[in-house]
């Protein structure tokens, strides 16, 4: 289960974080250190235990399916790195 350099590169790719080559080996060491420590969970007998999904003992509230907010593109775009008219400007997605 040890994390090697290839795994670090793969996970960094999945997480969309460019990790410089000199960080790959140190990250493998750090993540292995954390995961080795975490492995003590295997000592716990969890047979027949339902995984916790929520600490709140109440159902999810329902509401009418209607628009409650919106219609303010200026607010939505106020912090955009790039925008034009009422749109976000993003790098080309489709070639």
């Amino acid at each position: 289960m040890a994390i090697d350099a290839a795994t670090v590169r793969k996970v960094a790719k999945l997480a969309r974080i460019a990790e410089p080559e000199e960080r790959i080996e140190p990250l493998a060491r750090e993540l292995n250190g954390i995961l080795t420590w975490i492995e003590m969970l295997n000592e716990v007998d969890t047979d027949g235990i339902e995984p916790m999904t929520s600490v709140v003992h109440q159902g999810l509230p329902m509401r009418e399916d209607v628009v409650t907010e919106g219609g303010d593109p200026a607010k939505v775009l106020a912090n955009a790195p790039k925008s034009a008219k009422d749109f976000f400007v993003v790098p080309k997605v489709v070639e």
Binding site: V11, A15, R16, L27, G33, M52, Q58, P91
Partner: protein
């Protein structure tokens, strides 16, 4: 006017009500204190103009007889809370100069009750840390120093700015958040009171998300009563957070000073850990003695899965964080670093915007959720989490509350544990269980160590029973007579 910053929130509100001073005077005194304390790095943004405008409006309301519960009281706000028109960064470079166009529910509640905002408080980046050293703005320096020493100490984290500002009298109280101990550990390390309420008490709407099933807001204050006043204002139902509890918020201050006679308090034996300083062990014994004197029945209880809480947390929290922080893609707000194509733009933006600890946690989270590992890690952790919650349920059949130390040590020097993530994580060993089970927990200053540094005791309650914590916390506060304040060296 500097003595106005020495007041408790409660006595400041009384002074405002009796017209002994105005909110403008009280606020000005705090603005000056903040300016003089920049060496502590507690505030990452000072908003003196906004504070004075809010104070003037408060004085006008009070003159009209329309003052709210916290009217005119200057507070500090952790930078994790979105504040409309005021830069909110979670102390991460990736949010850049982000100015929310909306107000978090918790801060909106405080302003509804008349409170005044002094500025935004430093914290670990995205609340990930126990020493405030992961902040993009640099660490907060604890106002406390060891006797005769000048070594800069950590105020704890992630709410280190909140705790330091309250301890150094740079605000009457502060908002904070707690995902694994981020209110209670810094409170313990700075001689302040901090409470993480039951999950769902405070709305998470407008609070930058870290690990959504664990995140909860709460106050840090100088007294138990002040913390009660703040929490009463901050809490309440909010339809925009689906986990917000739709139940009435009690007047928490009414529990402070109530008799605790006959209350059963559990002492979990698993919280005696190897290597714990003798002073913390002694303080715990002292706390037990104080509660006995006040008429509590002390019961030894067992929480057998305690030692598994921290490793379970370091699966659940990074997993949720890796998902929550996927939103920082450089497209809609915050930093954007342009790459050759869309994917490179994402990768470069996130590489430049996130600090090392945040990246580490995103990678751990991505790994444990990745194909083939989900069952072994995330599902296993959620099962262990259920066993931890079951432990508490069984304990609370026998007792009304639990008493433990808050943190395994007093404030430690900045830079310690910097190279060892797991050693840093162990700071939360006594606090993290409460987040996993969704329970309320409070840290109360109870004494000092040989160097004169503050130490805290933690009270844990049943879900929704913050009231008992305020009663018991009040007893410990009074018995401890904790009046020590940091010497002003800044």
């Amino acid at each position: 006017m500097s003595d106005l910053t020495r007041l408790t929130l409660k006595s400041a509100l009384e002074g405002l009500e009796s017209k002994a001073f105005s909110s403008v005077e009280l606020t000005r005194a705090h603005i000056e204190a903040v300016e003089q304390a920049r060496a502590l790095n507690a505030y990452v943004l000072e908003t003196p103009d906004k504070a004075l405008a809010m104070a003037q409006a408060s004085d006008a309301r009070r003159a009209q007889g329309e003052a709210g519960a916290l009217d005119g009281a200057p507070l500090g706000i952790k930078d994790l809370f979105c504040t409309e028109g005021v830069r909110s960064t979670a102390c991460s470079k990736i949010l850049g100069e982000f100015r929310p166009t909306y107000e978090s529910n918790v801060t909106a509640n405080l302003w509804r009750d008349g409170a005044v905002m002094l500025g935004k408080l430093n914290m670990d980046e995205f609340a990930m840390g126990s020493s405030n050293e992961t902040s993009a703005f640099g660490p907060v320096i604890n106002p406390w120093r060891g006797a005769g020493e000048t070594t800069p100490l950590t105020p704890g984290g992630s709410s280190g700015g909140s705790a330091a500002a309250v301890a150094a009298q740079l605000c009457l109280g502060a908002t904070a958040t707690d995902t694994g101990g981020s209110i209670r550990q810094p409170a313990a390390l700075t001689g302040t009171v901090g409470i993480k309420p039951t999950y769902g008490r405070c709305s998470r709407w407008g609070v930058v998300a870290f690990a959504s099933s664990l995140d909860q807001a709460g106050p840090i204050a100088r007294t138990v009563e002040d913390a009660a006043l703040l929490l009463t204002s901050m809490a309440g139902h909010d339809a925009r957070d689906s986990t917000s509890l739709d139940i009435a918020v009690p007047d928490f201050a009414s529990f402070v000073g109530k008799s605790v006679k006959g209350m059963r308090v559990g002492i979990p034996k698993e919280y005696r850990v190897e290597g714990m300083p003798a002073e913390i062990e002694q303080l715990w014994e002292q706390g037990i003695a104080w509660l006995k004197e006040a008429g509590c029945e002390i019961v030894e209880v067992s929480l057998p899965h305690t030692k598994y809480a921290l490793p379970a947390y370091y699966i659940v929290a990074p997993a949720e964080a890796s998902s929550n922080l996927a939103r920082y893609d450089g497209m809609r707000y915050g930093l954007r670093v342009d790459g050759a194509n869309l994917t490179e733009t994402y990768e470069q933006t996130r590489a430049a915007g996130f600090g090392e600890e945040v990246k580490r946690r995103i990678l751990i989270g991505t790994y444990v959720l990745s194909a083939g590992y989900y069952d072994a890690y995330y599902l296993k952790a959620q099962k262990v989490r259920q066993r931890i919650a079951d432990d508490f349920d069984q304990a609370f059949e026998k007792v009304d509350a639990l008493l433990t130390p808050t943190a395994p040590s007093a404030a430690f020097p900045l830079g310690e544990n910097a190279d060892d993530p797991v050693a840093m994580y162990l700071n939360d060993i006594f606090t993290v269980t409460v987040n996993l089970a969704g329970l309320p927990g409070m840290s109360v200053p109870a004494g000092v160590d040989a160097k004169g540094l503050p130490l805290g005791l933690q009270l844990i309650g049943r879900a929704l029973d913050e009231g008992s914590l305020f009663s018991l916390g009040g007893v410990i506060e009074q018995a401890a007579g904790f009046t020590a304040r940091p010497d002003r060296w800044w």
